[in-house]
């Protein structure tokens, strides 16, 4: 409202940043994602998985790339969401959208409660506490066989058609549209949050928490907020996985789940939001390719990819592309700037 009232004057840099108009590249990205439904009909189950991985990576990016909080145990919330959706569907309420909401709420609640434990201390302490909490949750799920089915996973999940109309089919058509739709909705939310004053303070906290605190930002409260939001989003992603595959097992809590999301974020470029999604897609393709070549030992090459990424490609693929793009554009624009 206030921004609109001022719109007679040319917007300042701050206002423009807060409004964050959509760029054509962004629109093209989503159009392309939607077009994949028609262009790659045989890849849809895989692409649905990539969309889910993208949502999970997006939640990690919100935490790591925007707020600078590193977590080695974000899969805890992914798993909690997955099991909430699975248990709901198993006990006779298979409505998918309300399942998502429930999973998001429960995971967000758990995130809120654990944030007070996590957000103390240094990076190292945080890494260890998040890892410890995710192992605790996994062990708890493993022991509560009466609830979770233990290491056998949760059987007999029956998910109803979306809006009572579209049933989940074998070819993953419904699953892809559903996953992409949820990803888009969540992305809109995250994009809005990142460009809000709240998001700007998060970026400030990432840069220098002490100075932000001196500027009057309640650093602790902001971090609790973003941790809760990221946990809820991870929970929704986990619920999506359960609903589209009609199965959930203890794997969802795994350490490799958390670390792969980190890799996806860094691979795509931390703090860019789109990077998380692109990174998740690339990681998924890479894993499928490797699993086809060496079904048993693909983890070896994934490990090598991790190491190469850490050593040589800081800033990620998207960061690299953006740097290249700006350099090219500056190269074109430079002569006109020097002209009188």
């Amino acid at each position: 409202m206030i921004v609109e009232a001022k719109s007679a004057a040319p917007p300042t840099e701050d206002e423009r940043r807060l409004r964050a108009p959509w760029r054509s590249v962004e629109i093209a990205f989503w159009v392309l994602a939607a077009a994949a439904y028609l262009l790659l009909p045989h890849q849809l189950p895989l692409l649905a998985q990539a969309a889910i991985g993208g949502l999970f990576a997006l939640s990690v990016d919100l935490l790591l790339g925007i707020a600078g909080v590193m977590s080695l145990g974000h899969a805890a919330f992914f798993g909690i969401g997955g099991y909430v959706a699975g248990l709901l569907a198993q006990s006779g309420w298979g409505e998918p959208l309300s399942g998502l909401v429930a999973a998001g709420l429960v995971a967000g609640g758990c995130g809120f409660l654990s944030s007070f434990l996590v957000l103390r201390g240094s990076d190292l302490t945080r890494l260890m506490v998040t890892l410890g909490i995710s192992l605790l949750v996994m062990e708890a799920a493993n022991r509560m066989t009466w609830l979770t089915g233990g290491s056998d996973g949760l059987q007999g999940i029956d998910v109803w058609p979306i809006f009572g109309v579209w049933e989940f089919d074998l070819y993953g058509r419904t699953a892809y549209v559903y996953a992409l739709g949820v990803l888009f909705a969540c992305f809109l939310l995250v994009r809005r949050v990142v460009h809000s004053p709240f998001g700007l303070t998060l970026r400030g906290i990432k840069g220098n928490p002490r100075r932000m605190s001196a500027l009057g930002t309640p650093v602790g409260r902001r971090l609790v907020g973003v941790y809760t939001l990221a946990a809820a989003l991870a929970g929704i992603a986990g619920a999506l996985l359960t609903q589209t595959t009609q199965f959930v097992s203890l794997d969802v809590f795994g350490f490799d789940k958390s670390s792969e999301a980190l890799l996806a974020v860094v691979l795509g470029g931390a703090g860019t939001l789109y990077g998380a999604i692109v990174g998740a897609l690339m990681l998924m393709e890479l894993e499928t390719l490797l699993a086809r070549i060496t079904p048993e030992y693909w983890q070896f090459w994934i490990g090598i990819a991790f190491m190469a990424q850490a050593l040589y490609a800081r800033g990620g693929i998207l960061g690299f592309t953006v740097r290249l793009w700006t350099r090219l554009r500056r190269g074109v624009a430079a002569p006109s700037r020097t002209a009188p």
């Binding site: 410890g132 605790l136 022991r143 994934i302 991790f306």
Partner: protein, 287 residues
């Protein structure tokens, strides 16, 4: 009861050997080294191969395990870790996690995914009957004595030698130590190698007790982290005490309450990190 205590101490002694090196890289050098278990596993497998395939006597495999792990440590440190010291914690996490994944797959490829079994020499097998109802495994007794000797030796090196006093100075304040002409980089590299070697030694000794298989680096990552977190940095007694407590808790937990055994360990870790983020006995590391 006493047997549980005894087994717990033996496990703790192994944990001490395996993780004391990590307290230097993680605690002192501020390098998030999640791949410490990889170096330990290497030593364990070297010992297994030498013993089972080539028939080398058990005691002779131990120095070989130490040398293999230390050698791998030197190579990895010089080639890769050194480049990441200045990088953020995120790059370090990614690199070491990748190393763990690659090493686990490589171990499964080379050695198979089963638990390794070794044939102990006759003089270390069997039971030692102390009094009624209290039997000591000879091997576990050997472990405790051996690890006790190593801890003592480390303590002496740290407190009595020039190397030790330099290391203590570097731990207290690396910048000032550097300014005083101590080559902190080389000092840490040597310490890192020795730490890796000890880890390999620990895994070689614990092939059967710790269940050596390709998932070893991930399985024991948490244990190592707990020892470092609880033991603090810059002392030998801190990690030693932490390992012993952890070993006893672990064995007792698995023995008395098998249903929630692992749960207790993780719970203790999280609780302790929140209570004392800088370790139970440790001083705060100065960067």
């Amino acid at each position: 009861m006493l047997t549980v205590l005894f087994d717990g101490i033996a496990t703790g002694a192994l944990l001490f050997l395996s993780s004391v090196g990590l307290s230097v890289t993680l605690g002192v050098m501020n390098f998030v080294n999640l791949a410490h278990g990889v170096f330990a596993m290497t030593g364990g497998y070297v010992a297994v191969v030498l013993l089972n395939r080539w028939g080398v006597p058990f005691l002779a495999t131990l120095p070989a395990a130490f040398a293999a792990s230390a050698g791998l440590g030197v190579v990895v440190e010089r080639l890769f870790y050194r480049k990441l010291y200045d990088a953020g914690a995120l790059e370090q996490v990614l690199f070491t996690t990748g190393l763990v994944f690659a090493a686990m797959a490589a171990a499964a490829f080379l050695m198979g995914s089963q638990h390794q079994i070794i044939q102990l020499p006759a003089f270390l097998a069997g039971q030692f009957h102390l009094f009624k109802g209290f039997d000591l495994g000879v091997y576990r007794l050997f472990l405790i004595v051996f690890c006790g000797c190593v801890a003592l030796a480390l303590q002496l090196v740290l407190s009595r030698t020039r190397f030790g006093s330099r290391l203590r100075a570097a731990v207290d304040n690396a910048t000032v130590a550097n300014a005083l002409g101590i080559n902190v980089g080389r000092l840490f590299a040597v310490t890192f190698a020795v730490g890796c070697g000890l880890a390999g030694l620990g895994a070689a000794l614990g092939v059967e007790i710790l269940n050596l298989d390709p998932s070893f680096p991930l399985k024991f990552l948490v244990y190592f982290l707990i020892v470092v977190a609880a033991g603090g940095t810059g002392t030998i007694s801190g990690p030693l005490l932490a390992s012993l407590v952890l070993g006893i808790c672990d064995v007792a937990g698995k023995y008395y309450v098998p249903d929630i055994g692992a749960f207790i360990i993780y719970g203790v870790m999280v609780a302790m990190l929140i209570w004392r983020p800088h370790g139970l006995f440790g001083r705060r590391a100065v960067r």
